[in-house]
């Protein structure tokens, strides 16, 4: 009975994190963008700096009518938001935030593979939405999503493989247990490749060609309204949390930090994740959107060779150490 309680408690905590942290990232995006672009944004809801605007947006989304276009494929159309969102919940289960068994939802033996595999499934949601909407802009968005995923999945995997080689394990807590500070300069190229490819997989600017609002309205999500649309947005923010958490765990040493080794490791994890999330938002307001051919070129001619070079470097150093 104790086991069941333990599992239930862990899942409950992961679910609470999943519901809460993406919203914090969303709120941070509102405020950080507003400050960087020198505009106020909504300032009234809730009083202080409009902190309740996000909740108000949520209420607005719930109230809106849930419309399915007449020509659409109803069931696929309605299922798509769930397919886009749920994988990120599953991924969160496997990300360790502190040392020891207590600070991870579930230790997964092949952690890296689990995380990357399940994240890849999330894109199916966008593809389903793009096809089932019976809208040419949605279809174009779906096509671009698929092309982008095919291009950026490979460098992401290769970069992650480099860390796995360095640590000699594919389990996420195992990698962190093996982490040394000098891995940071050693794996820095892999870290950059992983982060950039992850951004592209999430379709965040500057890689937001699939939802380019000035060209194809909102890509695969054009026909969505109300709660289902909000779920897609939530999936995007959950994706940011997962990507930043993963980059932290794989490349930045997770709970390792210069001080506070006992008991405070989780603070380091959260801090690094938060800084990365800030960078994600920062990139959104500072870079223009990449064109489709530039996107593909970046993936195939820059990121993949860099990732392969990183793997070669990892192999050489690993052999030299041994």
């Amino acid at each position: 009975m104790n086991d069941v309680l333990d599992v239930a408690l862990r899942l409950l905590i992961v679910f609470a994190v999943f519901m809460l942290v993406p919203l914090v990232v969303g709120q941070a995006e509102h405020k950080v963008m507003a400050h960087m672009q020198g505009r106020l944004g909504p300032m009234y809801a809730g009083g202080f700096h409009g902190w309740a605007q996000l909740a108000a947006d949520g209420v607005k989304f719930v109230q809106k009518e849930d419309i399915v276009p007449a020509q659409a494929d109803r069931r696929v159309f309605q299922l798509a938001p769930a397919v886009a969102l749920l994988p990120y919940l599953l991924v969160l289960v496997a990300i360790p935030i502190g040392p020891g068994e207590g600070a991870v939802g579930q230790v997964v033996d092949a952690g890296i593979f689990f995380v990357l595999a399940v994240m890849g499934v999330g894109v199916l949601g966008s593809l389903m939405a793009g096809w089932a909407s019976a809208n040419k802009f949605s279809l174009l968005g779906g096509l671009r999503t698929a092309a982008q995923l095919l291009a950026y999945e490979l460098p992401m995997l290769l970069a992650a493989a480099s860390v796995a080689m360095a640590a000699g394990t594919v389990s996420l807590p195992g990698i962190l247990n093996a982490f040394e500070w000098w891995w940071l300069p050693w794996q820095i190229v892999g870290a950059l490749v992983f982060f950039v490819a992850g951004l592209a997989e999430l379709q965040r600017p500057p890689f937001d060609m699939p939802v380019a609002d000035s060209e194809i309205i909102f890509g695969a999500y054009t026909e969505y309204t109300g709660l289902r649309f909000a779920l897609f947005l939530l999936a995007e923010y959950a994706g940011i949390v997962v990507l930043c958490g993963l980059t932290t765990v794989l490349f930045l040493g997770g709970w390792h930090g210069p001080l506070g080794a006992d008991g405070l490791g989780w603070v380091w994890t959260l801090l690094k994740t938060a800084v990365l999330a800030f960078v994600v938002i920062w990139l959104r307001v500072s870079y223009p959107r990449l064109r489709e051919d530039q996107l593909q070129k970046l993936a195939w001619t820059v990121l993949i060779p860099l990732a392969l070079a990183q793997i070669a470097l990892t192999g050489i150093v690993k052999v030299a150490i041994n």
């Binding site: 595999a117 399940v118 199916l124 089932a132």
Partner: protein
Amino acid sequence: MTLAAAAAHPGFLSPTGVEIAFLLVGLATFGAAVITVTTKQLVHAALWLVVALGGIAVEYLLLTAEFIAWVQVLIYVGSVVVLLLFGLMLTKAPIGRSPDADSGNRWVAAAVAVTAATALVWVVVDAFRTTWIDLEGPAQGSTDATGEFLFRHWVLPFEALSVLLLAALIGAIVLSRKDRAGTSHREDKR
């Protein structure tokens, strides 16, 4: 994967929860696979294929082969099906029934499928007739064990496979370059 034969043979008549789950997931996978080949809606076929491939991943998990299960999801659900959907979207697969989704080869295809399935089932049953997975001991399908098997006992087949894939890759490049040099103006954005 060799599975240590447990000292005392469990019987077929008192199935454990894992075995029942294995059977049920197997049935669901089989159902999804049948729908995949019989549905008249092209994109639905691809989506049911996701269910079938995911079901197989769950079966791997139940057989303790965790690493294989995640690779199955990564490669098949995450990449192959996405590629498939990409191709289908390029053909503007219609919503609703595609009248030309049927092929005249259906009986030949069915015969080939049944033959292949019989051969595979026969081989698997013959190889693992009375072996049982020891669930109490260390995980036998862990990444560690899989890697050791792959690179200690099966290196040659593994390398042969990678050469085969390399050949396919080069072949694909050659085929797609031919188009560009020729007269046809096909847009290949990949």
